[in-house]
Subunit: 558 residues, 2 copies
C-alpha cells in the first residue's frame, strides 16, 4: 500500500533532515561528514536475533557479576524484514536476501541479482565501481557463493557456481578473498592474472600483498570452521587486508564482508560451531569498527540476510541455557567424530574436545552412534551438546523472523528503526557519490576475454529452489520459484529511490536514470524461448548461461 | 565490567544532549516537550521478535503485492536484553522481567519487585504516585498476575496471588482493569470500596465509569481469548477508558498496559490464538499511538518481557509459512475441541472453525484424539494448524532472545538502540517529575484497614521457581532460585541513575535519595529466620506474608 511506502520515505527524510545522528555520536565528535566516502556492509549469514543474544551469553565472563556487552550491543540501531518476492512466500534464502541487500529489489529464492523476470539488476558494488570507487568482498564461504555473488554478479540460479566464477572476470572487483578453489580452474585463474589479478591460494601470502587487484582462494570450498582453528581469525585478517588495499583509492570504496559459516553451522544445527563462527564474525566487525573510529568518512552497516535453524536459547520447558558448556567445546563435532573414528581409545579424546566428560549413558549413546559412522556420530555429538547446553532448533532451513541492523559512521542514523532489507540497499546506493559523466571507469584491458551477452538461461526449470540438505533435517518439498511479474515492484523501487530524500536528490535521479538505461541496454542474441525473450533483451553484461553445477555435499547452504 | 556501563551512560547522555529526536519526528512537529507529562508503558508478554514478524505476515493483505507495515514496524526503535539476576541464569520469567522493567533491578525468577535478598524495591508506578501522578494498569490476565503485580506491589513469589490482591489496597492505583475475580473476595472488595474504589465485574459497565478510582474484574482469572471474541477488543476498550480516566489528573499519569495472553498462547504453542492476541495487543497500541498523536506530552514505550515458546516462522526445512491458514481459524483450539466433544456430527463444526476442511488422514487423527478427550483433541488441533501453517516451537517455556523496543512521543529517542530491560526502567524513572517536598501524596483514608509491615515471608522454600505446566511440554527441573548477593548490582543501579544525564540530574538525585530512604526505613517486627533478618528490616509497606496460593490449572503462565 502506498501509505506504508510514503511512511518509509517520511522516516528517511526526517532522519536525513535531522543533523544530529545517534550512532555517529557514539564514535566521535561531530566532525564526520554527513555522507560517507567509504562503505563497509557486513552480513552475518543466517544470524537471526537469537544468535546475537546467544553470543552475548557465550561471551559472558562467568567470573564477573556483569554480563558484558558485545560489539552487536554497541552498534545496534534497528531491525529489518527479509521476505523475498511474493512468489517465494515469506521465508527467504540467502540469494534472494543478498539480492535485496545488494540491489534493493525483491526476487525469488535462488536468484542472484536478477529480478523475478530473470533480468539482471545493478548492484551496489557495480554502481560503486562505475563511480570510480574500489570494491571488494571478503567471505568465509567460497567467494562465488550466494551472498558475495549477488553483490558482484548476476545469475538465474545461485547453483551455477562455474558461471558465477567466470563472471567475476568482468566485475573489476579489486579484492576478492575467501574460499572456492574448486570453481576456479587453472585456465580461469590465468584469465584473472591476465586481467592484472594477483591470485593466491595460501593465506600466509596475504601479508605480502601490497596492492590490488587480488583474488585469494584459501580453501577448496569454504574456509575451515573457526572452532577448529580459533587462532587463525581468518575473516578478521582478510578484512583488515581488504581495508588496507581498498583505502588506496582516493575516491573511496565499498566492501562486503560476510560471516558465511554462521549459516552453515545453523543449517547443521551445530551450536558450538555456530557460536565460534559468531565470534569470528564479531572479530571482523571490531576490525571495521576500529577502522571507522580512525576514518570518520567510513560508514559501517551490519545485518543478517535471514535467520537459520530456528535457534532457541533454552528449550523443552527448561529456563536454562548453559553457555559454559559451549565455551569449553574446542573442536567441531565433525572433527571430533572424525578423530574418534580413527582411534580405539576414543573416549578420552572426545572428553577433551568436548571440555567435559560425558556420563555413562551419554558415552553409551556415542558408542552406538560411532558404530554407525561419522555422520551419525557427528549428529549424536551435536545432540549431546544441545542437551547439555539446553539449546533448541526447529529446522535445518531458514525462518522468517526479522533480523537486526547495526551501524556506525556517517549517515548511520539512516538505518535506525524498522526497515525492509531492500531499504538498506536503497539507502546505501543513495549514499554513493554522484555518477561521473562520460567517464569510462570500467574500460576492459585489451587482453581480457570478452564475455558475450546472452540470456541468463534457456532452462527455467533449472532454477533450483531453496532446499537445505543437512544431516538431520527432514527433506521437504521445495517451494515454488517460477518467475512471476515483478515489474510493478521494480517500478516502485525506482520511484522510491527518486523520492528518497532531498539532500541526495540529484544523485538519486542520476542513479535512477542509470538503472533505467541499464535495463534498456541491449546487446543480446535472439533467444528461442518465449519466456526469456524479454530477459534476453535486457541482459547487458556478465551473466553467462551455464547448466546448473553439480550439487556437491558442501553445496547445501541456502 | 565498568566499560560497558560507562558506554551505556555515554549513549544515554549523547541521546539526551541531542535535541533532534528520531521517533518524535514521526509523530509531529517539534513542539512536543522534551520531557513527558504522561507515560504509557506497554508489555507484550512473551512477545519475542518472531511474534512481531509473524504478525506482519498474519496481517498481510493477500490481495496486494505489498506487505503492509504494522504498528510495530512504525514504532520500532531498539532491542532489549532480558536476562534475570545471575542466580536464575540467562532465561527470565515474567516476574523477574517485570521487576526489571518496573524497578530497574535484576532479580530471581518468580520475584515480584523484590531484589535477590527479597527486599522490596520501589516501582515506577509507586514513584509516580508519590510525585502526585495518577497510575493504572490494564491487562488481559488477572490484575494480580506477575507483570501488573511487579508494577504495583512486592512479594517474594508471584504465586502468592491472594497476598498480592490484598496488597493492592495500598497501591492507591487509580485504574486497575483486567481479570481475577477469583482472588478478590467479597470482603476484600468491600475494603476496596471503602477506599473509594468503584468495583465492577461486567465490562459493559465500564462505559458508565466517569472518574477514578475504579477496579474492573471482568473474568474469574484471565479474560477470554481474543480469537473467541474478536469483536470485543477488550484491551483496546480498557486502555481507552484508562487513558480517559487518568487524563483527569493535571499532574500526569503512568499507565501499564499488558497483552498478557500472547504469552499464555505461546506457552500452549498455539499459533492461531497467539496471533489473535497479537492483534488484540496491536489494537491497544494503536489506541495509545493515537492518544500520543493528540497529546504530544505523552511518551509511549512498548516492549516484551521475554520470548515464549521458541516460535519459528517456518520449520522442518520447509521455506514456507502459511499465514493464510491462521487468518481463517476463527476459534481457539480449546473452544473447537470443547464444541467437537459436545456433538456427534462434529466434523463440519471443526471444518468451519478451522476455516479449512481437514483431509481424510487429518480427520482420522482428530477422531482418534477426540476419543481421548478434550486436552488431547486440543493438542491435535494445534498440531494440525502448525502443520498446515508450517509453524515451529522449541519449548513450552521461555527463551533468552532479546526483545524489541518501540517508542513514540517526547524522549522516545532515549530508547533507541540496544539496552537492557533494567535500562528501560532507569530511563522511565528519570523522566518522572521531581519529587514534591513534604507532600503526603499517599495519605490513607481513615476507614482503610491498616496493613502491618511484616517480612515478605518466613519460608524461603516457598519461593516458587519458574516452571511452566503446559499441556504438551515435558516437565523439567526447576532452576535454582535461592537468594544471592545483589547489593553490588543495586548499588551500581543507584550510581547509574545518578550519572544518567545532566538534564535529569536533580530529579535523579532526589530519586536515589528516596530509594535509599525507602531501603532503610524500618517498621518491622523481629523475625526468627536468620535468612530474612535483613529483608524484614527493610520491608516498609504492603507486602504481607501469606502462604503460597494453590497452583490452579490456570496458574501456569510464567
Amino acid at each position: 500500500m502506498k501509505f506504508t511506502r510514503l511512511y518509509n520515505l517520511l522516516c528517511l527524510s526526517a532522519a536525513l533532515v535531522s543533523g544530529s545522528l545517534w550512532a555517529e555520536n557514539l564514535l566521535g565528535p561531530q566532525t564526520a561528514p554527513s555522507r560517507p566516502k567509504n562503505i563497509v556492509i557486513m552480513v552475518g549469514d543466517g544470524m537471526g536475533p537469537a544468535y546475537t543474544s546467544a553470543y552475548r551469553y557465550y561471551q559472558d565472563n562467568p567470573s564477573t557479576q556483569e554480563i558484558e556487552q558485545t560489539v552487536f550491543d554497541r552498534l545496534l540501531v534497528g531491525n529489518a524484514s527479509t521476505y523475498p518476492a511474493p512468489v517465494s512466500g515469506y521465508v527467504t534464502d540467502s540469494a534472494a536476501a543478498a539480492t535485496a541487500l545488494a540491489t534493493g529489489v525483491k526476487t525469488y529464492n535462488g536468484a542472484v541479482s536478477v529480478d523475478t523476470n530473470k533480468r539482471p539488476v545493478p548492484t551496489l558494488l557495480e554502481l560503486a565501481k562505475k563511480r570510480g570507487m574500489s570494491t571488494g568482498v571478503t567471505v568465509t564461504s567460497q567467494i562465488n557463493h550466494a551472498t558475495p555473488a549477488a553483490f558482484l554478479s548476476h545469475n538465474e540460479s545461485r547453483r551455477n557456481y562455474e558461471a558465477l566464477a567466470e563472471s567475476y572476470l568482468n566485475t573489476e572487483a579489486d579484492v576478492m578473498l575467501g574460499g572456492g578453489q574448486r570453481y576456479f580452474s587453472d585456465k580461469l585463474i590465468e584469465q584473472f592474472e591476465a586481467k592484472g589479478y594477483q591470485v593466491i591460494k595460501d593465506a600466509a601470502l596475504l601479508d605480502g600483498v601490497t596492492q590490488p587487484k587480488v583474488m585469494g582462494l584459501f580453501a577448496d570450498v569454504q574456509l575451515p570452521w573457526a572452532i577448529d582453528e580459533p587462532e587463525a581469525r581468518r575473516l578478521s585478517t582478510m578484512t583488515a587486508k581488504a581495508l588496507d588495499l581498498l583505502s588506496q583509492n582516493d575516491q573511496g570504496f565499498v566492501l562486503l564482508v560476510e560471516g558465511s559459516l554462521i549459516d552453515w553451522a545453523g543449517h547443521n544445527n551445530d551450536i558450538a560451531t555456530a557460536m565460534a563462527e559468531m565470534h569470528e564474525f564479531a572479530g571482523a566487525i571490531e576490525v571495521v569498527e576500529q577502522y571507522v573510529r580512525q576514518h570518520q568518512d567510513t560508514l559501517l552497516v551490519v545485518t543478517a540476510d535471514h535467520n537459520t535453524g530456528g535457534l532457541s536459547i533454552g528449550t523443552h520447558g527448561d529456563y536454562r541455557w548453559d553457555s559454559q558448556v559451549l565455551r569449553q567445546v574446542n573442536a567441531s563435532p565433525a572433527r571430533i567424530a572424525s578423530q574418534a573414528l580413527s582411534e580405539d581409545e576414543w573416549q578420552s579424546g572426545v572428553s577433551g574436545a568436548l571440555g567435559f566428560t560425558p556420563s555413562g549413558e551419554e558415552f553409551s549413546a556415542l558408542d552406538s552412534a560411532r558404530m554407525q559412522g561419522e555422520k551419525v556420530l557427528t549428529s549424536q555429538l551435536k545432540k549431546l551438546i544441545d542437551q547439555r547446553s539446553n539449546t533448541g532448533w526447529t529446522t535445518g532451513g531458514h525462518t522468517g523472523v526479522d533480523v537486526q541492523v547495526f551501524a556506525a559512521g556517517p549517515a548511520s542514523s539512516l538505518f535506525a528503526g524498522h526497515q525492509d532489507n531492500t531499504d538498506i540497499a536503497h539507502k546505501l546506493i543513495s549514499l554513493l557519490p554522484k555518477p561521473a559523466k562520460a567517464k569510462p571507469a570500467n574500460a576492459k584491458p585489451a587482453n581480457a576475454k570478452p564475455v558475450s551477452a546472452k540470456p541468463v538461461s534457456a532452462k527455467p526449470a533449472s532454477v533450483l529452489p531453496a532446499e537445505p540438505e543437512t544431516i538431520e533435517s527432514p527433506k521437504t518439498e521445495a517451494p515454488e520459484t517460477a518467475p512471476l511479474e515483478a515489474e510493478e515492484k521494480a517500478e516502485t523501487t525506482a520511484q522510491d529511490i527518486a523520492a528518497m530524500n532531498t539532500s541526495a536528490q540529484a544523485d538519486v535521479e542520476a542513479q535512477a536514470a542509470e538503472l533505467s538505461e541499464k535495463m534498456q541496454s541491449t546487446a543480446s542474441e535472439p533467444d528461442a524461448e518465449e519466456a526469456f525473450r524479454q530477459a534476453s533483451d535486457l541482459l547487458s553484461e556478465g551473466a553467462e548461461s551455464q547448466s546448473a553445477a553439480p550439487v556437491s555435499e558442501v553445496d547445501n547452504q541456502d
